[in-house]
């Protein structure tokens, strides 16, 4: 009886193994071994900054598609771009390093609260109620959806305003896609000037709620010799490429002309400097405290 059962189990196992080994021969899918090598060279954060679903799919795309550039990985920066270019035999174009930028200064502008918000601590949820608790409906909501989304731990919330540590920011754009108010934007690290406000309201409406906000007067648009400033989606948009190409000979006429002092020079050190303090963690427990109260 033992012999029978052992033999038959052995037989079944042998048959299955045989079928599987034959199948692995005939059904083998050939995968380019370079894909794995490239995927290993990538940071593996799966942030999606390259525009693909994750590091793995970018690796497959950059190997298989000659039109996909090797410098798409913003998280890895030039080092990874060079490595990927070497592995794929493509020319590594120089990517202009970018950084995330917050277009809101609501603390400085003394933006009041419309109402006290007690809902879920999430910007997306707060936005659904009367466009958020702030008097300005384009302000930073400050519940840190972007902080939680950031794969590189480069953001934190302070005084209801999100802060970005430029040294940690890899410009993957995850926060930009997360923000329901679209106050985050990717700009080149070399950028000279930027509007520190994202309001789409007209002048009077902005003045009513914020001491600092952009009133869309358009003085900068007229003043810019490079014509790099335009109105897009009812807010000021700066074409940093055109601005940088024109160079500093204009003496930052737009900044000088701005009556609200909201179009400002970007301190090159701001962009490059390391965060001076350890980012405070967003208090996730706060809703539990609400329940106890």
């Amino acid at each position: 009886m033992i012999t029978e059962s052992v033999l038959s189990l052995f037989g079944l196992g042998f048959v299955s193994a045989g079928i599987l080994s034959v199948a692995s021969k005939f059904l083998a899918v050939e995968e380019d071994p370079r894909i794995e090598v490239v995927a290993e060279a990538l940071p593996g954060a799966n942030c999606g900054g390259c525009g693909f679903a994750g590091c793995e799919s970018y690796a497959a795309a950059v190997i298989n598609d000659p039109n996909v550039a090797p410098n798409k990985c913003c998280a890895g920066g030039p080092d990874v771009a060079a490595r990927v270019a070497e592995l794929t035999g493509k020319a590594a174009g120089a990517a202009d390093p970018m950084v995330a930028f917050r277009r809101c200064v609501k603390v400085e502008g003394n933006v009041a609260k419309k109402f006290e918000y007690f809902g879920i601590k999430s910007c997306a949820a707060a936005k659904l109620i009367q466009d958020g608790p702030d008097a300005c409906k384009f302000s930073c909501l400050g519940f840190g959806d972007c902080v939680r989304a950031c794969p590189f731990d480069a953001m934190w919330v302070e005084n209801g305003l999100v802060h970005i540590a430029p040294a940690k920011c890899t410009s993957c754009g995850t926060c930009v896609r997360t923000c329901p108010n679209a106050i985050l934007e990717l700009i080149p690290r070399r950028s000279r000037v930027m509007v520190f406000c994202s309001s789409q309201d007209k002048g009077k409406a902005v003045k009513d709620v914020c001491d600092a906000g952009c009133i869309s007067c358009g003085a900068c648009i007229k003043k810019c010799p490079a014509q790099a400033i335009t109105m897009v989606d009812e807010r000021i948009h700066i074409d940093h490429k055109a601005c940088l190409a024109y160079g500093p000979s204009c003496g930052e006429a737009c900044v000088e002309k701005c009556p609200r002092n909201i179009l400002r020079c970007l301190n090159p050190e701001y962009i490059a400097e390391a965060p001076e303090k350890e980012p405070a963690k967003y208090p996730e427990e706060s809703h539990v405290a609400d329940l106890k109260a």
Binding site: L9, L12, A23, V288
Partner: protein, 191 residues
């Protein structure tokens, strides 16, 4: 009529998850999002039907012939594991889109107790091949139904304020229990 009754009762009354408590790990593990839950349910449906048919044939033409019925459990595990591996390879080569959507779930259910459970249940109940296949189909449809319902509830729970200690699996287990109670009401349907 009998087969129809069997079909309906396998989906609702004897739901494999909520009345027989088989396959609870994917039920709790893969029910955080509806899309993932559907993928898991579809993979389970696919594997259960296939495994039941193959196991039925193995039982009838190998185990019964050699009088080795007592080896049923271990043989079924062996066959199911090999089958899932084979199916995975087959899909990868022949039906890449299906492989992409089921891909990660297939290896997960190699040793799922719902798969083995259905294969053994149809033997206990002494069904013929056609009835077994239908029963397997109905059982896995019941699985699909339960896991999608669960995912729908849990998606809502994600944005609900519940005590931190109850988040995730604890509230999931409570919900599973309540759903199981609710499904017991179907017992009156087929009296």
């Amino acid at each position: 009529m009998d087969i129809f009754l069997l079909f309906i009762s396998a989906i609702f009354v004897n739901n494999i998850l909520l009345a027989q408590y088989l396959g609870n790990c994917p039920y709790l593990g893969c029910s955080k999002e509806k899309g993932v839950a559907f993928g898991m349910g579809a993979a389970v449906l696919f594997v259960i039907v296939l495994a039941t048919v193959i196991c039925f044939l193995i039982q009838k033409y190998v185990l019964n012939v050699l009088h080795l019925e007592y080896l049923q459990t271990i043989v079924f595990i062996l066959v199911i594991a090999a089958l899932v591996q084979f199916v995975e390879m087959f899909l990868k080569k022949m039906v890449p889109p299906l492989y992409k959507s089921l891909g990660i779930f297939l290896p997960l259910i190699t040793t799922n107790c719902a798969v083995l459970g259905v294969a053994i249940l149809v033997q206990r109940k002494e069904f013929d091949l056609l009835t077994s296949t239908l029963y397997a189909l109905a059982a896995s449809l019941g699985f699909l139904l339960a896991i999608i319902l669960m995912a729908g509830i849990r998606e809502r729970f994600e944005i609900t304020r519940i005590p931190r200690s109850m988040k995730g699996v604890p509230s999931g287990l409570i919900m599973a229990g309540i759903m199981s109670l609710a499904f017991m009401a179907f017992k009156g349907m087929i009296a």
